[in-house]
């Protein structure tokens, strides 16, 4: 009985035969040319990191444009103290190892928020200590789990102001505190820990929706005022800055107002955390990319998934690191990015610049064979 689907091994054997057949008789220089060309072709098809017969990682100078910025990210670690729970600490350390082994090292590492699980001093201290091991410079971003125990006191003492901006190689970077919630705790007489635990529950309906808030929007407008519309702009935010699913606070309530401020720029990229999954969206000229978590993956929301999103297939609960990982962002000179999801125990997935530029027609990332559920 001839099998209907070719197994990996059969495909591998055939691919190998074909590949080596085409290489027979090439001298070394020609081989390098051929493989570089093949690599380049694969890169434009959005198949950059490992597929069969491709180099393990992007090395500098191959397919890179001149002003490229290389960022690594680690996000959503949700640490408990290590005596309470060792699993999340292990995962964060794996991410730190991954980033430290990148060659060449990135320009900087973005930490995407939710370093602690319950905002405790010991959790944040542990996280800070671990992140000190990163060789490249680190830029920190706040998540709701870091903030709502003491409303940011410990965070600010460790990492400084949550909202800031800077310029790097011609690109303007902004980090927002986008998990501002309207006070729901005073009227109910909640203690700080009760408030924290309420916010910590993704599906807890007592908390308020995330916002950037009027004050920060004013700050953002002022900050951007001196930049021309052509300036490449990258915004780091914990909440997505658009409206996906309110029940899980995959949501920014004043998203339209924030997007209005960003609208005049030719290209804006938003890199966000909180969602613990592969997410891609584009609204006008704003391209949104979600970051993976190191701690655990969220399932996809029952509604509101953006059309551009190719969902990751359902993680296996036996492997607590399945569906988790870290990643990279490669910023091109026009400000648009290749977003690399570096999954653990899975192949990396790249959402290339061309994908969002073409509204999902080119460089389509591989689709999963199983439902994401």
């Amino acid at each position: 009985m001839r099998p209907k689907h070719k197994s990996v091994e059969t495909r591998y054997m055939e691919e190998r035969q074909e590949f080596f057949h085409s290489l027979k008789g090439l001298d070394r220089r020609s081989f390098m040319k051929v493989s570089a060309a093949a690599f380049g072709a694969a890169a434009t098809r959005g198949l950059v990191p490992p597929t069969s017969f491709q180099p393990v990682r992007l090395s500098a100078g191959q397919g890179a444009s001149a002003a490229e910025i290389h960022i690594a990210y680690i996000s959503d670690s949700h640490l408990y103290e290590k005596d309470v729970n060792d699993r999340f600490v292990r995962s964060l350390l794996r991410a730190v190892d991954d980033v430290n082994q990148l060659d060449p090292q990135p320009d900087f590492v973005l930490y995407g928020g939710d370093l602690a699980q319950l905002g405790q001093s010991k959790e944040l201290d542990l996280g800070a200590q671990i992140l000190k091991e990163l060789k490249a410079p680190v830029r920190m971003m706040v998540g709701e789990h870091d903030w709502y125990l003491d409303l940011g006191e410990k965070w600010k003492s460790l990492f400084g102001q949550p909202t800031y901006s800077w310029d790097h190689k011609g690109v303007h970077f902004v980090t927002l505190l986008s998990v501002v919630e309207k006070d729901f705790w005073t009227a109910r007489g909640m203690s700080p820990m009760e408030r924290m635990k309420t916010v910590a529950g993704l599906d807890n309906g007592v908390q308020s929706p995330f916002t950037v808030g009027a004050e920060q929007r004013r700050w953002l407008e002022n900050d951007l005022a001196r930049y021309s519309d052509d300036t490449p702009l990258v915004v780091f935010s914990h909440s997505p800055l658009y409206k996906l699913y309110k029940f899980w606070n995959f949501w920014t309530d004043d998203a339209e107002e924030v997007q209005a401020i960003l609208r005049r720029f030719r290209n804006t990229v938003v890199i966000h955390g909180h969602t613990h999954q592969m997410l891609t969206n584009r609204i006008g000229n704003i391209h949104f990319h979600g970051m993976l978590a190191t701690s655990w993956p969220w399932p996809y929301a029952p509604e509101g998934i953006p059309a551009l999103t190719i969902q990751m297939s359902r993680p296996d609960p036996f492997n607590p690191q399945d569906g988790c990982g870290d990643g990279e962002v490669r910023v091109h000179s026009d400000g648009l990015v290749d977003k690399i999801y570096n999954f653990w125990n899975r192949n990396p997935v790249t959402v290339a610049r061309e994908y969002t530029v073409s509204w999902g027609k080119e460089s389509v990332p591989a689709r999963p064979n199983r439902p994401s559920y």
Binding site: E9, M13, S52, N347
Partner: protein
């Protein structure tokens, strides 16, 4: 080889050759028999002759049965195998018992079928050493008896691929699934000891074995046929460096032969599945081994470094060996000594009844060795008193 043939006669009766193994789901069994190689008595007889024939090696010293010895649980019970001219390979020889029920062959799964795998060692420079399939076929075609047998079995002239098919057909008769545990699964409550039953419980629950080693009546082997990095060789390897070297070496000499040589003969062998798929997720991954008859097939793991089943338990109990590509499903298990003994008792209950005396011998030998030394044991890691990364966090 005569002593092996005599042993084989006792184990597999010729009369049963073409039938579905007793108690096995016939629909599932059929799925494992390739369409172009239905099992017939002629093919099995031919395969048997080839399996024991040293002429299939370049210097006439090695046959399949050298490393897959009938009297040594169809493997060689050595750390790594020895090929022609006394060369040592880098990998532990898997047993050919029940190999017919595996979904991919070789520890890195580079063979899609048993018929394909059976002919590969013939052209491996370390194992049997023929430069290519044609020369191997020419060598045995000098025997007119073979020519006749091939024509009778396959209706065509002797050729290299059919050598593999015939050996595969023979291996399909080497099905040994009648363990005390199988009788227990089929309802005989007394078939295994209380200790082993408790071990089975742990196997399914606290010890987390079942997720990669599922055992049920349709899949009695106890392997998920997938590839995992459990860190066995991580204590001696730097995987990132190896991966870079692998790609550099292939860039210098991009030939199929080179890939085979690299995969078996050098340090790059430790990269496992990665050499086949080049997938980053496969660095250092090897196929989950089957655990049926595991008691009689030491030493364990892809490089044979774990000598007893107690060593295997110690390795898992402490959460494998940390490395950047460790499978996230491997974690510290906090099993007590008693629990380890129970799981080991269960594992020894997975041996086919026909090998009862060998099983008993192994159990005693391994128990004696384990009583003396447990080189992989680390209770601090196992019970999470010390976490793997502890030294890195300066408190």
């Amino acid at each position: 080889m005569d002593y092996q043939l005599k042993e084989l006669e006792k184990l597999v009766r010729d009369a049963d050759v073409a039938e579905v193994p007793v108690g096995f789901d016939p629909v599932v069994w059929q799925a494992f028999v390739p369409g172009d190689n239905a099992t017939t008595p002629e093919r099995v007889a031919l395969g048997k002759k080839l399996y024991f024939d040293e002429r299939l090696s370049k210097d006439g010293t090695v046959s399949c049965a050298t490393c897959h010895d009938v009297t040594r649980a169809f493997t060689d019970q050595r750390k790594v195998s020895e090929g022609i001219r006394g060369q040592l390979g880098r990998r532990n020889a898997p047993t050919t018992m029940n190999a017919a029920l595996l979904q991919t062959l070789f520890l890195d799964g580079r063979s899609p079928s048993l018929d394909h795998q059976a002919r590969m060692p013939i052209t491996n420079p370390i194992e049997m050493g023929f430069p290519d399939g044609e020369s191997a076929a020419k060598e045995i075609a000098r025997d007119s008896e073979y020519q006749k047998m091939f024509r009778a079995a396959y209706g065509r002239d002797l050729n290299y691929e059919d050598i593999g098919r015939a050996i595969g057909a023979f291996e399909r008769t080497l099905v040994f699934i009648d363990s005390p545990f199988r009788r227990f699964l089929l309802g005989d409550g007394d078939a295994v000891s209380a200790e082993a039953q408790q071990g089975f419980r742990l196997f399914n629950e606290k010890a987390r074995c079942v997720s990669c080693h599922p055992m049920n009546l349709s899949n009695p082997l106890g392997t998920d046929n997938r590839f995992h990095n459990i860190g066995v060789s991580a204590r001696t390897q730097n995987f990132e460096l190896l991966a870079k070297n692998a790609l550099a070496a292939l860039a210098q000499e991009p030939s199929e032969q080179k890939l085979e040589e690299l995969a078996i003969g050098t340090d790059l062998s430790e990269l496992g599945r990665f050499m086949i798929t080049k997938n980053r997720s496969d660095i250092g991954s090897f196929r989950t081994s089957l655990i049926l008859n595991i008691g009689i097939t030491p030493p364990y793991m892809h490089d044979g470094t774990l000598e007893t089943l107690w060593d295997v338990m110690d390795h898992y109990n402490k959460g494998g060996e940390a490395n950047p590509y460790l499978d996230g499903g491997i974690e510290a298990l906090a099993l007590t000594e008693e629990e380890i003994d129970q799981v080991v008792a269960f594992l020894f209950a997975l041996t086919d009844d026909r090998f009862r005396s060998e099983n008993q011998r192994q159990m005693e030998r391994q128990r004696a060795q384990a009583a003396e030394k447990r080189p992989f044991r680390d209770d601090d890691l196992a019970f999470r008193r010390k976490l793997v990364f502890e030294e890195r966090i300066k408190k």
